[in-house]
Subunit: 401 residues, 2 copies
């Protein structure tokens, strides 16, 4: 596998564009279209929040046949908690995009991110859709990535190339996450394209697996958004023999590349977490089962006390152990060793005498790497989070208007 230039337009047959539609107050891009000139096998994973934007339910229904051809996404307005009108506006976004692209509305997926509870400015949105559709380009990936940003400080893109049955296959992706210009709730969007030929059932299974090990393992503030989604479009133009056996070797090769793409973007989102000064990687090893490893890793990356201690460069291993303890996973605390980088801080659940200067140096690194050895089985899991800084409070205390 090699990392290549570009993002969602790196795979064959994909065009994209991001434009200014004046949905945001500032003069910034805020409307994206991603389009494949061939119909794609498509899969999506969506927020589990009971309070969901209309686009979540509409996308689920559009994905029932496992096919799609375009994505339209806007930033600056989440179109959530907007009732019947919000539902109608989301359907209009799909219909308008379909008209300009001359495809079926059922083959358009819709994503929105931004302030909650405000009506969509549909006249501007329509103008934006027309503008983006008219300027779709093989070089539009970067604009597309910019036009889905909200309080993100950097845009997030990646593309890789692998070989399947002797044919080069590409995967491209963009994501946004962890804040809004009108802070409301952290919304995470990720769009992945590939020219691989894959059956819909295989696509869905591997996207779910990959998300569970990437986007579902990151946390900035434990607040699950109303609009989170990851979409994956596969148009088959690479001409590989179709991947339709979820146990086969081709499936493995592709999924490993997909995992790499998902984890890379998940880490970019977390590193760009609101107010974050460092990425934190927590690896739980030798656990009795995978669920326990996962639960403990996530609990540690989500602990406010641990996050604040990391911001303060305080090697406070007691908070790490306590966060494991209240995670809900069953384990024996008196078996647990804790490492900060290469420094061992605790053994068998008890503190060791460690070098405070070396520990502080580990806490100044980016990422900070914490390893928790359960010494009770063969399973492991990794989670990513960030530190909790004054800046997080400032960003989220800011008034909406």
């Amino acid at each position: 596998m090699k990392i290549i230039k570009g993002s969602i337009t790196a795979p064959q047959g994909f065009l994209a564009q991001g434009v200014e539609a004046a949905i945001k107050k500032e003069d910034k891009k805020d409307l994206t279209i991603i389009y494949s000139n061939h119909k794609c096998a498509a899969a999506g994973v969506f927020t589990t929040n009971k309070v969901r934007a209309a686009c979540i339910d509409i996308n689920r229904s559009h994905l029932e046949d496992g096919r799609a051809q375009a994505i339209v996404a806007n930033s600056g307005n989440a179109n959530a908690c907007t009732g019947q009108q919000g539902w109608k506006d989301t359907l209009s976004m799909a219909r308008l995009t379909a008209e300009y692209l001359n495809i079926s509305p059922d083959d358009v997926l819709v994503a929105s991110t931004g302030v909650i509870g405000h009506a969509m400015p549909m006249r501007r949105v329509e103008k934006g859709i027309r503008d983006a559709a008219a300027n779709l380009s093989e070089h539009g990936g970067e604009n597309a990535a910019r036009a889905i940003m909200t309080t993100d400080l950097v845009s997030k893109e990646i593309a890789v190339e692998i070989e399947i049955g002797g044919r080069p296959v590409r995967i491209g992706a963009i994501a946004k996450g962890s804040g809004m210009i009108h802070p409301n709730m952290a919304t995470m969007l990720c769009f992945i394209t590939t020219d691989a030929d894959i059956s819909s059932p295989c696509l869905e299974e591997m996207l779910r697996y990959s998300c569970d090990r990437s986007f579902n393992m990151i946390s900035v503030d434990r607040d699950t958004s109303t609009n989170d989604m990851v979409l994956l479009l596969a148009n088959g133009l690479a001409g590989n023999r179709q991947i339709k056996n979820c146990q086969g070797e081709d499936y493995q090769v592709f999924r490993e590349a997909l995992d790499f793409v998902s984890i890379s973007l998940a880490k970019m989102v977390t590193r760009d977490g609101e107010g974050a000064t460092r990425l934190v990687e927590v690896e739980v090893i030798n656990a009795e089962n995978y669920d326990a490893a996962r639960t403990i890793a996530r609990s540690i990356t989500s602990s406010n006390l641990t996050k604040a201690a990391i911001f303060g460069e305080d090697a406070n291993w007691g908070r790490i152990l306590a966060a494991a303890g209240y995670s809900g996973a069953d384990f024996d605390p008196q078996q647990v060793d804790i490492y900060l980088g290469s420094e061992k801080m605790a053994e068998n659940g008890m503190g060791l005498i460690f070098n405070e200067d070396l520990a502080r140096q580990e806490l100044q690194k980016d990422p900070v790497v914490i390893k928790v050895d359960m010494k009770s089985g063969p399973f492991k899991a990794t989670a990513w989070g960030c530190d909790l800084s004054y800046e997080y409070v400032r960003i989220n205390a800011a008034y909406r208007t």
Copy 2:
């Protein structure tokens, strides 16, 4: 029921003292003894963290017979993650206290709060126990409350008097919570005394009920401690007819008073939460069942985004609804109304046009009162939290040493 002066020494037969044993670095009280001159029916509720201090398990065993006569508590050292030595030291604290008070070690309960993973300075602890035991007094409640404080800014005490079968019965209590001088993890301790005559099974049942509606409904930072405990001692000196029927009228009267005491202290602990500038009260009403009401109320008080918005006086009802949505409770978002004080912000899951100035005034109040009307049943629950401020980050980023 009337509120009376004093705290744990207000009920008949209880003596207490808090002294300086030099366990803390500063010249501050750090060792407390609470003693009843009659053996008590006793009950306790303890942290659910898998990583527990030895005192938690030792108290459970000492409470097996439902009886106790004294509590010894220290601040400045949590004696958690200290292995075999920590276990021995906890047993020594019970034994030494028992010797000086001439009672059985099994009738002594032990509590510790402070830094984790450090050995107890047992010579100092013994001197403190001797000193406190020699100076037990009816007026020692305030010193006792001070000697369990860590980063608490104020001490927390309350006492009430009710009448049961024509006899005055008193309940007194002290608590500490929400920070440490060596910040490590928020430890919550609460000791409650009463001269009521109550059977052990009734005492345990009502303490569990009361804690579920008070201490288990507060959150400062979602981090569950290794040392949390609530202890209740009832020595029977009020001479009321014994409460031994958990359905009876006397039980109800006493439990209501106990609930008042528990909720009052729980609110004091939350208001004194690390860095908190305001108490936040979230009432979920008209829910389909009690568990849903409770889960939603707790999810809202625990949301970092909601807490930061309150600190910033931002009437960001979307975050409140989103926190309800990811709580795990099942409900229909399109039924939900949200009030901030007397201002209705959202109806049927959609935002209303509201007066931003009035909303901001509600957010400047202490407590901030949020009401969530589920409009789907007869159940309700109240949870308490606090805002998330720069000061929280500062306190918890500070270096241990």
